[in-house]
Symmetry: C2
Subunit: 376 residues, 2 copies
């Protein structure tokens, strides 16, 4: 038996030596980073023997926190105790943002690189628990509207049976600028949140559809200065809306057991996706009657042009218009302005201000609260 295992060990050694990094790292002992301590403080470690300055930037902190250089070129810092959550972070070494090579948790994102550290908290909605789990379905198609190959994700709740006759309402849930279509599940834990809410009877069983949120992929090009190009910005919103209404929704409604009336369709999103939810939802009331915008912005001061038909009549049609923003978010003023304008039009809406900045910690809580209100 011993010989089997020593050849197995050789196999594993061969395998572990084969990947690129392992081969070059042999001289230095591997680091464990991040380390979460019992008091919920976190120690980060990063080896950079010749760097002059290293810091860690943690999601929700205003500024990078300097790290101290110790033995063997390893920089370290321990935080104060943190509230249990998932936090994005990255290192900044001599001005260059870098991922933590000791951490396999990497946030999917087209533009920004960040790892994630998990501080578990037992009763939190985004913690995996011993409840029935839904499934996530990944769909691929060629978009005639945008002209690219793209994808969307569909969460089906526990017990969803395509061979049954039961039908479900649908939440269309939109990611933010720079995210990909997996953002709401991979980072937002939308599937875990829905699993937990449904198990506790805090949310109705529903499908959650998470499309790719770009109508004009050029909006992602870092060198084109497109954020200042009004044509590309407008096209991004317009083509997104068209792709959602004429491609994604018909595909979902053909493939899944869903209710197809406006009372059973919600649309919500974060940041750019919040703007898309307002632009699409409030201008397509024949399709949606539940609308949520988390940390959205960018409409002030010409709301009259973006929502030309909006007035108090909408109160008869809309079940929920839920507008949330963190008070430390740079977009809080935009949100206050939007809500004041809605009030001036006598449009009913929920004014939600929460602690927090422009972060996933805010948006996971937003989804938890918003999903519980839907389809009642």
């Amino acid at each position: 038996m011993k010989r089997i295992f020593s050849t197995l060990a050789l196999l594993f050694l061969a395998v572990t030596v084969a990947p690129p990094i392992a081969r070059s790292q042999t001289p230095s002992p591997p680091l464990v980073s991040p380390e979460v301590h019992p008091d919920n403080s976190v120690t980060f470690h990063f080896r950079a023997p010749n760097a002059k300055e290293v810091a860690v930037q943690i999601e929700g902190s205003a500024k990078p926190v300097p790290m101290q250089k110790g033995d063997q070129g390893v920089w370290s810092i321990t935080t104060d105790p943190l509230t249990p959550d998932y936090y994005g972070y990255s290192f900044v070494a001599d001005g260059v943002g870098l991922l933590d090579p000791s951490n396999y948790r990497v946030k999917p994102n087209f533009l920004y690189r960040a790892n994630e550290v998990h501080l578990p908290g037992p009763a939190l909605s985004w913690e995996i628990s011993d409840v029935p789990h839904g499934e996530i379905h990944h769909h691929f198609y060629k978009s005639a509207v945008v002209g690219d190959h793209r994808d969307f994700f569909v969460y089906t709740p526990p017990g969803y049976d395509p061979r049954s006759k039961q039908t479900y309402p649908v939440l269309y849930l939109l990611h933010g600028y720079s995210d990909d279509a997996s953002g709401w599940t991979a980072v937002g834990r939308a599937n875990v949140i829905l699993d937990n809410l449904i198990a506790q009877s805090k949310a109705k069983p529903m499908l959650v559809v998470m499309p790719l949120g770009y109508g004009e992929p050029k909006v992602l090009e870092p060198h084109s200065g497109v954020f200042h190009d009004p044509a590309i910005t407008q096209r991004n919103f317009d083509k997104f809306r068209e792709a959602l209404l004429t491609e994604v929704i018909p595909k979902v409604e053909a493939a899944y057991l869903v209710k197809k009336d406006r009372n059973s369709r919600a649309i919500a999103g974060l940041s750019m996706g919040g703007s898309e939810s307002l632009l699409t939802g409030l201008n397509t009331l024949e399709q949606f009657s539940w609308i949520g915008a988390f940390s959205s912005g960018g409409f002030n001061p010409e709301f009259d042009k973006e929502f030309p038909a909006l007035d108090a009549k909408i109160n008869q049609q809309l079940h929920l218009l839920w507008i949330a923003c963190g008070t430390d978010d740079q977009l809080i003023e935009n949100n206050r302005n939007l809500r004041a304008w809605l009030a001036s039009k006598s449009v009913k809406h929920a004014d939600i201000e929460t602690p927090g900045a422009h972060t996933w910690m805010v948006w996971r809580r937003n989804l938890t609260e918003f999903a519980a209100l839907l389809f009642r």
Copy 2:
């Protein structure tokens, strides 16, 4: 209109400034890396102003290639023209393996950090093309066998309709050591390969089930020296097999329209997953009749103990035993020894030697060839 767009620009600016890295990167212009040139050479760039030595390690190359320092602390190198494919790579700066902060393509992996560069080639099986696409379903469950929360993925072919009566054969496809359950889709492009093969009538429509391949998660702990711990190694194989046979297969067969006889079940995998395919498949012939091992190893020289019942009688039962390895793979000798032992037992099998090392470039080609042979 101008004012709308300038506030939208502010929104985007606010959003782009919010993520951790962007805030600290403002002084340096963003890099574009990697750059793929028309002749299929690739230029890599990495900013590391105080590093003394920077290299790039490219999947399939024996050694890291040194990079040269240019303006503003940016290190660069241009490769020779490469064969179209997806290549993993990482940087090594002063002995530390690092991800490319300019590239959003990061390979999911529990132990090794690598980015990916894509050199498109029009007729390649793993290139997305204008053919009908299947779907990928992500399942979550608590394993009673292993005791953890875990996941598996299921590819359903184009046209799969859960409300029909048509049933399909199933390939159980296993990842390698250090991969997670998404490895075969995210890196191996198994769904794209199957889409293309099916569209060209080169493979039968089938489901592909991709479970998490660890029976003992401790096998992943970097500090425990478990590769030399025979008990943990053996437990990893045994509990994987038990979880597959008693948890994953029953769940798949309850949820999907699949054929449930051994003639309609295949098992294959790469590296550790190849070993698992042999250990499970050859010892559970009542369940599987198609077996593939890509770059597997670790059984020499005590094959008699691992496969005690194996003899020429198996030739009546087994439709395919397909054993492949790249000639530059460190495991090629193990594979040759295994094949010689099978020949000594008069067990029919396919001897496949291909160019290449222990890389995904080999395994994508292995899957393309192997899937075409199944269920005929």
